[in-house]
Subunit: 409 residues, 2 copies
């Protein structure tokens, strides 16, 4: 079950003026569930996105990148679950374009103004006919207060829908931000995780919005891992409808940008963490902080070595303070000139290791007590310089675990 994550409350999800959402049941994979989402945007909307760096990226990712690059703006987003349209070659491209054309026909716009997204099984043909047949119903039920249904419609193995709203005041104008995301497995984003959509009624210039989404992704979705597998379909999309009445934000050094950026980052971190809390089989939510590095790159190397290690993850599932496994992961992270005698390892506020070995003050029962918690922070102080990073991950539960968890008992 998801770790300290409950389903969003529909009434707490705030509409974004300029965004309408419609869902439908196209029967792509499972019966009796919505698997199609259309997000229609007002004409003035600016849209920016970041996508997976997987070389086998899905056809809709290629099409969405191209459509985002054309200058006429985006009119709608089309998202299906049940099929990733990835590893589908030339046919996949045709299918993605055909889906865009079907929605464009209903919305009476150029197909290039549609961004397509797919999530689900890889290497199976996209059922375009089912999608085309489901679209009229999705378009017919479009509403601005439909974010709750939208968050549910994009789920695959997710147990809980991920959605959140936030309001901030910028230059005296109330700005609203609402975001949804999905993801539970194949989570090791290298750009952003499959399907994050964040909309705001602030007005932001196209160039600045693209800068913002990249930086927001680096601080949120690019800081999580569930199983170390980078998806073929990752995408984080940021939409600014400009309907709030706030003047356009166009300078990255302005106070308005700063406030907006912080609020959108907060929404994005909530959604990214929600994906980890709902990670496949997760029973614990683990924060990995690496501080005092020479640069962020080495902090991330060490953080991800810990966060990806099956041995570390199974020890956390078992609440077994077999913390030497964390040292082993730090050691193989690939930081060639790392002096292990210089670093300190903490579990929450408990000093575990220093001077290349277990801290003299460390007592097993203290480690044991912290390991019982369902939210734990691993903190590594490298004492090399000032760079730092924070990552989020979950444990590996059940039987893979059983074997490693019984190693010390």
């Amino acid at each position: 079950m998801p770790v300290n994550l409950t389903s969003p409350v529909a009434t707490q999800l705030l509409p974004i003026t300029g965004v309408l959402l419609g869902v439908a049941e196209a029967g792509i994979k499972r019966p009796n569930r919505n698997d199609l989402l259309v997000m229609q945007l007002c004409a003035e909307s600016k849209v920016a996105g970041v996508f997976t760096k997987n070389r086998f990226c899905a056809a809709p990712v290629i099409v969405a990148r191209e459509h985002l690059a054309q200058p006429d703006g985006i009119r709608a987003l089309l998202i299906n679950t049940g099929n990733a349209n990835a590893g589908t070659g030339e046919q996949g491209m045709q299918d993605a374009l055909a889906s865009c054309a079907a929605l464009a026909g209903l919305l009476n716009c150029n197909p290039k103004k549609i961004l397509p997204f797919s999530t689900g099984v890889i290497m199976e043909p996209l059922p375009v006919a089912k999608i085309a047949a489901g679209l009229p119903s999705a378009v017919a039920n479009m509403r601005s207060d439909n974010w709750y249904a939208a968050a549910h419609a994009i789920m695959t193995t997710d147990i809980v829908a991920k959605a959140v709203s936030k309001q901030v005041t910028v230059d005296g104008v109330l700005i609203t931000i609402t975001g949804i995301a999905k993801g539970s497995g194949m989570i090791h984003p290298n750009m952003a995780t499959m399907l994050g959509y964040i909309a705001t009624d602030a007005k932001v210039s196209q160039q600045l919005l693209q800068e913002m989404v990249r930086e927001v992704a680096n601080r949120s979705f690019n800081c999580i891992t569930v199983d170390g597998d980078t998806s073929t379909n990752d995408a984080l999309i940021l939409i600014a409808t400009g309907k709030s009445g706030l003047r356009e934000v166009s300078a990255s050094d302005s106070a308005a940008y700063r406030t907006l950026f912080e609020a959108i980052t907060e929404v994005s971190i909530f959604l990214a963490q929600a994906i980890v809390r709902d990670g496949e089989g997760a029973t614990k939510f683990i924060t990995v902080k690496v501080e005092g590095g020479k640069d962020i790159d080495e902090c991330k190397k060490i953080g991800y070595a810990i966060a990806r290690s099956p041995l570390v993850k199974t020890a956390f599932f078992a609440s077994d303070p077999n913390l030497g496994r964390i040292l082993a992961a730090i050691g193989y992270a690939g930081v060639a000139d790392l002096d292990v005698a210089m670093l300190k390892l903490y579990l929450d506020d408990l000093l575990v290791a220093e001077n290349g070995g277990r801290a003299i003050s460390y007592r097993e029962e203290d480690g044991q007590r912290i390991m019982q918690n369902d939210e734990i922070t691993i903190r590594v102080l490298l004492n090399r310089s000032t760079a730092m990073t924070t990552l989020w991950t979950c444990d590996f539960s059940y039987d893979y675990v059983k074997i490693n968890a019984s190693y010390r008992s």
Copy 2:
């Protein structure tokens, strides 16, 4: 249970003239099992080794490296299980040296002629007193036909002991090679996996023996992964006693070297594969061949991305031909200029994917049939150039699996 791996037959393990082995029960962790091994070598023996690249490498690894570098030769190897003496700081170094001193006292030699090795829990102090107390019994029972007991004495989570012998004729002289290894978890060797010992009665110059062990490791232990975790204690040791009567092999371009190298590589691959077959929770043995790369480095990147992917490994456990997961792993392996439309993916001899998507000839039932087997080859043809590599791994079984295995059903 180990995949197609049975316990070695004691009588099939051939003594190596010049090597005596003694085991003992020191009570380091569990009662009633041997956890101490002494291998005494004749004075003429040459010894070479490769060790983990983990920055948190264990104290015995540091000591063994130093002792190997001194010119007076090695007289004995001392191996304990139940405690890794890793992440133990300065005390760990003292403890490793004290263990060497204890054995040197019994063998009446310089402690620098002892190579120490430890395997087990990380970040706990080595119980030197127990080891010192157990040594006299180990030394007292040293015999040349003790390889079977030795293979058992070094096991930790291993279910089956790993040992093999091989004989080849070089320049008319019969040469014998016997090797033992241990390992089941924390297996992603970056040099060699924790505790592999191979001895031969051939005579090999020190320099050539070091070249040989490095190359042998690269073709065997450095080609396996179970969980992606590189151990703090990995070591592969190659011993040449020179007792066979064959003249010294000292040129790497000689036919004698070639024959010996191939035979030792074969022994090493058997042992490395045995570790994978006995990988924690393994139910399938998977060979990953990547061919047609620009260089070995990119072949290994792609091979390890596949071999480490929890999603690929769980699909194999479930016998589910969800083979798009292999494409996803190829895509995120980090080969920046990879053209996915050029590659071909095979499962055994079955063409699965080409032209960036599923092969037209591929039928799900054919994939399904191959996935039932307990030994399967994944073959990726990159069509970029001529480099190639072969790796070996196992599946991820049980519950971590359950979640991913039910994703398509």
